[in-house]
């Protein structure tokens, strides 16, 4: 009989880790890899220094007029002078605190989310936030002055269209996804038809339809807010995409989960809302967040039905005869803002994925 002694743990050999090993293995492992690395570095050298020179070293930050931009670099004075327009559109400046309050309340909401356990309470609170936020920005009650929606614009409008679009589209999307997975033929075919119809049509068409065709269904004289029409169109459009992503999540749930929920006696809606959807949504989060990101970018299309979102505001300002010739600065600024929001959302989605991962098999 053989008897073996216990072997103690020891460290991994040192020549298998560390930065030099990483560089050797990842950047210079094959001739092609070496070539690509060198090419990459060359491109960076070619692009970055001139940009930094234009945007920072030679740029003009101080001053208030066009004449202050003398050094040949970027004229950030233009952005500084127009920033209020970019942020708030034509919203009256003495009332802008209302928008800022809504932004501030968002952080309060996020903090509350950290402390609240019950998802139901969270959803309820988020709804309260959206309603209060909308009423505050819109006004027209309790003696708070009303600001008609055609005064809304800039980043505030962009955020608002994207957020309201997603929030309204989400419940519709959930119902459509359940409808599509349903065994009832009528419900199923209605859902399928709706989803496939919307997915076959570009957003721009839907926006035109909702702004031109929708009013035809209403008696003459009934005017319909332009923003509201855009929001209805966007929510209807997004709902179809959200539904498809949730359907993907639903399909990933093992049959045993449905059976266990049935066996313990849950009704259809209890089964779906307590057992299946929470799991399906976790699976769908990365895709839902990318729907949110593309919607955020697609809000720029509301320009074509005469709403002034951030991009439209920048175009308008760059067309200002006094500031003519500074649209580059404007578009760089818009790019940065869009990048910032989209990148934040994508980081957030990665965080969520990590957090939820522990509960998934």
């Amino acid at each position: 009989m053989a008897i073996y002694n216990k072997i103690n743990e020891r460290k991994a050999p040192s020549n298998t880790k560390g930065p030099t090993v990483w560089i050797r293995e990842n950047l210079f492992s094959t001739p092609l890899n070496v070539a690509l690395t060198i090419l990459g570095i060359m491109v960076l050298f070619w692009v970055i220094p001139p940009f930094v020179k234009w945007a920072y070293i030679n740029a003009n930050f101080a001053g208030t007029t066009r004449e202050d931009c003398t050094s040949g670099g970027a004229c950030w004075v233009f952005i500084r002078m127009k920033i209020d327009m970019f942020m708030y559109g034509f919203y009256p400046s003495e009332l802008r605190w209302r928008i800022n309050t809504v932004y501030g309340l968002f952080f309060v909401l996020m903090a509350a989310f950290k402390y609240l356990k019950s998802p139901l309470l969270k959803v309820a609170l988020a709804h309260v936030y959206f309603i209060v936020g909308f009423l505050l920005v819109h006004g027209g009650f309790f003696g708070i002055e009303m600001v008609p929606t055609d005064k809304w614009g800039g980043l505030m409008l962009t955020i608002m269209v994207a957020a309201v679009g997603i929030v309204c589209a989400f419940p519709i999307g959930v119902l459509l996804a359940l409808g599509r997975a349903s065994h009832l033929p009528i419900i199923k075919s209605i859902s399928v038809t709706y989803i496939e119809f919307i997915r076959g049509v570009p957003l721009i068409t839907i926006l035109f339809m909702s702004s031109i065709i929708l009013p035809l269904f209403f008696p003459e004289g009934v005017t319909f807010d332009k923003l509201l029409r855009a929001l209805i169109g966007i929510a209807m459009f997004e709902a179809a995409y959200i539904a498809e992503n949730i359907r993907g999540g639903l399909q990933s749930i093992p049959k045993g989960q449905f059976e266990a929920a049935d066996a313990i006696g849950l009704s259809y809606w209890q089964k779906m809302f307590l057992v299946i959807l929470p799991q399906a949504l976790k699976v769908a989060i990365p895709n839902l967040l990318s729907v949110a990101i593309s919607l955020f970018q697609d809000t720029t299309l509301v320009l074509i039905i005469g709403l002034f979102d951030l991009l439209a505001m920048v175009r308008l300002s760059a067309a200002d005869s006094y500031w003519l010739g500074y649209e580059t600065e404007g578009y760089v600024f818009v790019t940065f803002i869009f990048w910032f929001f989209c990148y934040s959302m994508s980081t957030f989605s990665q965080k969520l994925e990590k957090r939820f991962n522990t509960n998934l098999r």
């Binding site: 266990a260 066996a263 313990i264 006696g265 057992v275 522990t358 509960n359 998934l360």
Partner: protein, 248 residues
Amino acid sequence: MKDRKEIIEIKNLNKWYGDFHVLKDVNLTINKGEIIVVCGPSGSGKSTLIRCINYLEQFQEGSIIVDGIELVNDVKKIKAIREEVAMVFQHFNLFPHLTILDNLTLAPIWVKKTPRKEAEATAMKYLERVGIANQAHKYPNQLSGGQQQRVAIARSLCKNPKIMLFDEPTSALDPEMVAEVLDVMIELAREDKTMVCVTHEMGFAKKVADRIIFMDAGQIVEENTPEEFFQNPESDRLKLFLEQILSH
């Protein structure tokens, strides 16, 4: 002795999957408090049979009466039957997004409208019985297979069912975990619950079964007391089956 009242009556049950005749003229009467073990080769229709009892599967011909309620496609009756009948699955089917405790209290809170406090107290009582009260706040996949199956048993006990169905509760487990689950089941068998267990654990069958049923190709081929079942198998198919599972 156990009283003689029937709790499950299956008469002339026939079921097809498309054109495939999966259950053929199944007749089976189970009395209150009886422990029935169902065995047979893979694909013989054991799961399908017991899944008909809580209407996870629909059937085309015959009738099933559970505790006086006839099984028909009627939401109220199905709900009533599912309150009496609990099921333990081969792959546990715990809800991975809920803690162990929430897995147990879900049905009591939402189906029976039990107050949360009370439901949690009951849940803890059952978790204690299956020996995992200290894991109540963990998530299912933080537990071993044996522990998960014991949680699943506790979950099914929470609604205090009259009938427990087990579908191969130990076949997905690593060998060292089979015993802990069987121990819990043996303990349950000593109470007055009616149990229908699909299992190939013949030690368990010998110890607690009142009757053993052998199925093959969608039919009940033989049913007998454990002693007779193992010592005097009649049909060739059962002899062959016993040879195969007891040979090593």
